[in-house]
């Protein structure tokens, strides 16, 4: 279990990104964190990943192996796809079934290719595979699919969910897409504008695997409506 209690994070220059932010994740849960841009969503991920320290408050992480998928693919241009994906293992002096992982994200034929030979969607697949290579207990995703076209995005979302069901890591998915958050997660946590804190959460009681048809269901639309309502209430209150 991961818990953040009453976190505050301010940056030099006086910007307070988070104030009184609390969030708890159960092991194996898929949670989306949604909020208006600039509300500190990405800061939450940085804090959990240990890339930044909270100004106030504490974060409890019981010895988690963390995987991180950044907004950009963030691949090393000088290394092949295989070397890129293997990086977390190589840095730790371990080895693992990289080729099997590449096959799972549909990159088996591209193991020896360099990032500049790949399309945007394929780069993201490689990035996702890399995050999973270290067999994380916790996967943090920072709007990884925002820059992709919708067809590629649906495809990648499906793959991510399949991988999650198989490995059952805890997933925290930061996004500003309501439809994405509802389609993917068990729980959508809504944040207020800056300084960000949690203003509500919506449970999505839909079994997995979720088929693409779920997007056409009335209950899907009504969950999306709930998330939207919650977001708008938070923004009106802030304004």
């Amino acid at each position: 279990m991961i818990s953040l209690r009453q976190i505050e994070k301010s940056f030099a220059g006086g910007v307070t990104a988070l104030k009184d932010f609390s969030l708890a994740l159960e092991q194996g849960e898929f949670v989306s964190l949604i909020g208006p841009s600039g509300c500190g969503k990405s800061t939450v991920l940085s804090l959990i990943a240990g890339l930044a320290e909270p100004s106030v408050g504490e974060i409890a992480l019981a010895r988690q192996r963390v995987g991180f998928v950044f907004q950009e693919p963030t691949l090393m241009p000088w290394a092949t796809v295989r070397r890129n994906v293997a990086l977390p293992l190589e840095l730790a002096g371990e080895s693992g079934p990289i080729d099997a992982l590449l096959a799972k994200v549909g990159l088996a034929a591209f193991a020896g290719a360099y990032p500049r030979q790949l399309s945007g969607g394929m780069k993201m697949r490689a990035s996702l595979a890399r995050a999973l290579a270290g067999r994380p207990d916790l996967l943090l995703l920072d709007e990884p699919f925002a820059a992709l076209d919708e067809i590629t995005r649906f495809d990648l979302i499906g793959q991510l969910l399949a991988l999650w069901q198989e490995a059952r890591f805890t997933a925290l998915f930061v996004t500003h897409s309501i439809t994405e958050s509802v389609f993917m997660s068990e729980r959508v946590v809504v944040m207020s504008p800056r300084p960000g804190h949690v203003v509500g959460e919506i449970r999505i009681d839909e079994p997995y695997p979720r088929s693409p048809e779920f997007r056409a269901e009335p209950r899907y639309a009504s969950w999306c409506g709930e998330v939207l309502h919650c977001l708008r209430a938070a923004m009106e209150q802030a304004a």
Binding site: A49, M76, L87, P88, L91, D155, A162
Partner: protein
């Protein structure tokens, strides 16, 4: 095939030169025809070649030292702002002072008997700065996202250096070294001009000597060797750059024909 256009231009140029010089009966001491220069080159080849070797030794030695020193210092500067602030102004000062101006001083210090050492020092000084500044820029240009990634996965400073910073800086480093190669040659020649007779027997001295004797074909022959050396150096460095970067760096992308890609038949298949 790639060199064909340049070769055609070269041949046309030489032919025009030869023809015009003969047609207009230009005096030999002003501009000898290429045929005479070639003959002079063949005739004096042993002594010119010795001079070429001497100049090349100085150039390559200075280039190697400048590259090593520049890279080492760039690494130091990149990892310590205080050290950079303390020493960078002096590196710049050294760079902006023309080599011709400090040449007499350096020659005096090492003594005319060791003119080669003076040439070596001066060539190194000129070649050093581009490597330093380009490499430093390279180390400063490491992608922030990748840096975070390495931190996230607990990379040691040594791993960050070897696997992230060095490869990131490599294209910059090579660009700096390419400039440095040319500058080392220029430095070696300029310094030799200043050093004058003495014990130096590089190509620069052959040029001065031939000029004094109004032996223009020999002067041009020495010049031709000199530019051949410069071109050769540049070509070797470009080849090294190409070998190291061709797989991944944008500067090496071949626009035509399209670079071979693995067949995309399977990768983008629809799933889930």
């Amino acid at each position: 095939m790639k060199f064909l256009p340049a070769m055609i231009v070269g041949i046309l140029f030489l032919a025009a030169w030869e023809g015009l010089v003969r047609l207009l009966q230009v005096p030999l001491f002003l501009l000898p025809p290429p045929s005479l220069i070639a003959a002079s080159l063949a005739e004096d080849f042993p002594s010119l070649f010795d001079s070429l070797l001497f100049t090349l030794q100085i150039t390559l030695g200075a280039f190697a030292l400048a590259s090593l020193g520049g890279i080492a210092l760039a690494i130091l500067f990149a990892h310590s702002r205080p050290i950079e602030r303390a020493f960078m102004p002096y590196a710049v000062a050294l760079q902006v002072t023309p080599v011709v101006a400090i040449a007499p001083l350096v020659i005096l210090w090492v003594g005319l008997d060791n003119a080669w050492a003076a040439l070596f020092i001066l060539a190194t000084l000129v070649a050093f700065f581009p490597v330093l500044s380009a490499t430093l820029l390279g180390f400063r240009s490491v992608d922030g996202g990748l840096r975070n990634l390495f931190r996230l996965y607990g990379a040691t400073p040594w791993q960050i250096f070897l696997r992230l910073e060095l490869p990131s800086a490599l294209p910059y480093m090579l660009a700096g070294m390419k400039v440095a190669g040319g500058l080392a040659l220029i430095g070696a020649i300029v310094a030799e001009f200043v050093a004058g007779s003495g014990s130096a027997t590089g190509l620069a001295w052959r040029i001065v000597e031939a000029g004094n004797r109004l032996n223009m074909p020999r002067m041009f022959a020495a010049l031709a060797l000199l530019s051949a050396a410069g071109i050769g150096l540049h070509w070797v460095l470009s080849a090294i750059e190409r070998a190291l970067l061709r797989h991944w760096h944008e500067s090496q992308v071949e626009r035509e024909p399209p670079s071979p890609r693995p067949s995309p038949a399977r990768g983008e298949g629809v799933r889930g």
